[in-house]
Amino acid sequence: MDATKAIATKTLVASPERQLEADSDMEIVRRVQAGDVAAFDRLILKYRERLYGIIYHMTSNREDAADLSQEAFIKTFQSIHRFGGQCSFFTWLYRIAVNSTLSHLRKARLRAFFSLERIDGEEPVAKEIIDALTDKTGADRDTYVHELQEKLNDAMQKLSIKHRTVVTLFEIDGLSHQEIAEVMDCSVGTVRSRLHYAKQLLQSELQPYTRK
């Protein structure tokens, strides 16, 4: 246990919650490395939605997101004996997933098509935003939400792959600049620059839907 804490202290985390999360993950990883294969299912259940969400927002395709996230979990499981705790487990898992997605997007750049999930309009944050945007109800409201969803995905797809990744990790998944820099293996300044440029482009694309 002392070794686990010593390794965890080397990881770069953004908050105490992240620190506790990293320690918990490292304990599970040690159990998997010791031969407890079933312990890896806990890591899958813990990160599958976030991992799927990141890949989905990068690809805008639910089938690709499912395949790529599963592939990332399998790669992680096959390589977990080499994981020494140089970074937190979720950073390592995110890095594998993001690299696989970037490689997939580079290969399938010319044959990209959308396969969108349905927006859960009953979620409090989404409901509040939709209410702020329109006063329509019923079928008109659903049509409007679907149109807005397509516009959002169109605007995201106009970004480059790396800019889209930064926006996804920061604005949608809520990672810090430092964590994004670790995942994408670049500097924090690069992350900030990419984020600034991407938001400028998105602002110009989504101008009709924003209001100061």
């Binding site: 969400g53 979620e123 944050v125 989404a126 702020a132 959002l152 604005e171 949608i172």
Partner: protein, 284 residues
């Protein structure tokens, strides 16, 4: 469409938060888990190639602190090998020997040369001058080609004969067995052999060509020696005619001067009265 009349602001961050609400259903996760389980089992059963099992990061991680000296050593080794295998081409040195020492130079060079069998020297004693050029070929430090040029002067005409002798590979040098040097030597030897055979086939039928193709020429004779001396009767006749001609000509000259005729008048007279054959032609 958009409701711009509402008071609450909607920013880009709000729109991007809306994307968080794009979530799959619960049924999707059940299907997702089954697929992942199947792929995980397939990955466990599938035999991975050995290079996938080797951790390159761990392998090269141990050398991380030595990467600078290892890189410098590698660059140094490549440089040494390059300089050793591909030296700069040496300058061509041509040693011109003095005309007073041709035999000595030839004797010096002779032991190192493998003289071509096609070398034909009409009169070796007539060598007036010779020069020896020593050429060091680039990329072949052990092979040295020596070119001996001899001017053989015969009695009637001067022939310049070039004897190319090559192949003085010094055995003691380490690169004498280099593949490129051996290849050059073998090619040169085969070329010399082919040249010898070709020369023999071409020159042998050509020898004595004039004696076979052309007819025998008569012995040249002096034209004056062919003149025969006339006999006695013929000589007397010739003398008589010559004497008569010398006596008649002055008579005609005297007669003309006596008449007082000018040359023009005489010409007219002769030309107006012309007797030919059976007729007489008179001009007025």
């Amino acid at each position: 469409m958009t409701n711009h009349d509402r008071q609450r602001p909607v920013t880009l961050e709000h729109l991007l938060q809306l994307k968080r609400a794009e979530r799959p259903s619960v049924e999707f996760w059940a299907h997702y888990e089954r697929e992942l389980r199947a792929k995980q089992l397939a990955a466990l059963v599938e035999k991975r190639p050995w290079w996938r099992t080797v951790s390159l990061a761990g392998f090269f991680g141990g050398f991380r602190r030595y990467h600078l000296p290892l890189g410098a050593a590698a660059v140094l080794a490549v440089t040494v090998l390059s300089v050793r295998d591909y030296p700069a081409p040496a300058a061509v040195s041509v040693n011109e020997t003095l005309p007073s020492q041709p035999a000595g130079i030839a004797r010096e060079v002779a032991p190192e040369l493998r003289v071509m069998p096609t070398t034909v020297t009409e009169s070796p004693r007539a060598v007036s001058s010779s020069s020896v050029a020593s050429v060091a070929l680039p990329r072949m430090p052990s092979a040295e080609v020596r070119v001996e040029t001899s001017e053989v002067v015969s009695s009637g005409s001067a022939h310049v004969q070039t004897t190319v002798a090559a192949l003085a590979p010094t055995v003691d040098e380490p690169f004498s067995t280099a593949p490129s040097a051996r290849l050059v030597v073998e090619n040169f030897g085969s070329l010399q052999g082919a040249d010898a055979v070709l020369s023999r086939h071409l020159l042998t039928p050509a020898l004595g060509f004039e004696s076979r193709a052309l007819p025998a020429k008569p012995k040249p004779v002096e034209p004056l020696s062919q003149i025969k001396i006339p006999t006695g009767s013929r000589r007397s006749n010739l003398i008589a005619s010559a004497t008569l001609a010398s006596t008649t000509t002055p008579v005609l000259a005297n007669e003309r001067s006596a008449r007082g005729l000018s040359d023009e008048r005489l010409y007219d007279t002769v030309s107006r009265v012309n007797a030919r054959g059976a007729g007489v032609l008179v001009k007025f």
